[in-house]
């Protein structure tokens, strides 16, 4: 290595690797052991218990949160099912009510129609009767007017005829 050409002041220390300078070994080993003991006590008394507690607490919290979430999810599912059932029930109820209402309306309508038909029929029959009466009345009037007119015409022609003959003649004419 770089021994020979170095200055005299480096001669001893540069005689190879400093790692193999056994004179410094006790010093290094002593301080290493001190360091290790200090680190061990710091870790085992303070750091490691603290960190393990924190980690355990966190995993516990996460577990709890997950189970709570699971529970809530289940509840939400139940609520959804209940909602769906209620919805279906309401729908069928609405269907039923509307059907009933429709049937009731139909029945009312039918009876009203039948009643109206009956009334119309009654009214029509009444009118028929009235018309017939009027027609009969008119026929009688026509007969009377014809008799009178025939009597007057016969008188104007200068002859007389009794009522019975005229009536017979008018009736015979009207039949024809």
């Amino acid at each position: 290595m770089a021994t020979e050409t170095h200055g005299a002041e480096l001669a001893t220390a540069e005689a190879g690797m400093p790692q193999l300078d056994f004179a410094t070994f006790p010093n290094q080993i002593f301080w290493l052991l001190v360091t290790l003991v200090v680190i061990y006590f710091v870790l085992s008394k303070i750091a490691l218990p603290r960190i393990s507690t924190v980690l355990a607490e966190r995993s516990g919290t996460i577990m709890n949160d997950i189970s709570a979430a699971e529970e809530l999810k289940l509840k939400a599912k139940e609520a959804e099912a209940a909602y769906n059932a209620a919805l279906a029930e309401a729908k069928s109820e609405a269907q039923r009510i509307s059907n009933e209402t429709r049937a009731a309306i139909q029945a009312d309508l039918d009876t009203a129609l039948a009643k109206a038909d009956a009334q119309i029929a009654a009214k029509a029959a009444e009118s028929e009767k009235a018309i017939n009466e009027i027609r009969d009345g008119a026929m009688d009037s026509v007969k009377a007017v014809a008799k009178d007119t025939a009597k007057e015409i016969v008188a104007a022609l200068g002859s007389t005829a009794d009522a019975r003959t005229i009536t017979a003649a008018v009736t015979a004419r009207m039949k024809g």
Partner: protein, 251 residues
């Protein structure tokens, strides 16, 4: 490494290994075992960084974490899962030890990437002690937990009887090589990358190639960040594997 350049051309000065030299921060420069050195300083900074992230970062104990707390939790979860997956459920008891190892190595590696810093994990003295701690712990644990059954680790019952002694020798050798490879892997990776960056930085003294040098440093730096994480991960996961062998020695 940089011998020739040193003698002939004064503008090119390569001292890639100087950064690894432990130096005394106070006093006359002699290093006793108790001397406060840059090793002490950077290990203290490592401890500080760990406290900052894992203690101060998690102080809110928030249900929804802050940025610092997220990183602390991420690191915790990363190592915890590694121990659980690799070493098994019954190895969770040793999680604090493994977390200590991982946090020390990962922070020392990353802090070592700061300019002018000292990389404690680039020293075989440090990684060797870490690896030997793991090796000793795992071996003792294996015998305490399983008694003599721990030796089944070396006696591969699924192999034909004739080759078992041979395999036992190989297994035994590989078992004792573990701490060596375990420590040299980490220290070597740390040292090599830092030394290469230093060499590239040395080339930056020549104006003509300084842009290339800076590009190379940038690229190496990116790679080193990756290596810092990966080596901490590798060290930890190997520890978990050894731990598993200790707890369940049967193949």
């Amino acid at each position: 490494m940089a011998t020739e350049a040193h003698g002939s051309e004064s503008s090119l000065a390569f001292h890639p290994m100087d950064q690894f030299k432990p130096v005394s921060l106070f006093g006359d420069g002699t290093i006793h075992w108790y001397t406060v050195t840059n090793v002490t300083l950077w290990m203290a900074i490592t401890v500080l960084a760990i406290v900052l992230l894992l203690v101060v970062g998690s102080r809110g104990r928030a249900m929804v974490p802050s940025k610092g707390q997220s990183i602390a939790e991420l690191m915790y979860g990363f190592v915890y899962k590694m121990v659980e997956d690799v070493a098994g459920k019954d190895a969770i008891r040793y999680f604090p030890y493994i977390m200590t190892l991982f946090s020390f190595i990962v922070f020392a590696n990353i802090l070592g990437l700061l300019p002018l810093s000292f990389t404690t994990t680039s020293h075989i003295a440090v990684t060797g002690v870490l690896a030997l701690l793991v090796f000793t712990f795992v071996t003792v644990l294996g015998f305490v937990k399983n008694g003599s059954k721990f030796l089944a680790l070396f006696w591969i019952s699924s192999a034909p009887l004739a080759v078992r002694p041979l395999l036992a020798v190989i297994e035994l050798i590989s078992y004792f090589v573990r701490p060596v490879s375990h420590s040299i892997r980490l220290a070597g990776n740390m040292m090599a990358g830092h030394a290469v960056i230093k060499v590239f930085a040395g080339f930056a003294a020549i104006a003509a190639i300084s842009p290339v040098s800076i590009l190379a440093i940038t690229a190496m730096y990116g790679l080193e960040i990756l290596v810092a994480f990966i080596q901490a991960y590798v060290f930890t996961i190997l520890t978990c594997v050894y731990l598993k062998d200790a707890l369940h020695p049967a193949h």
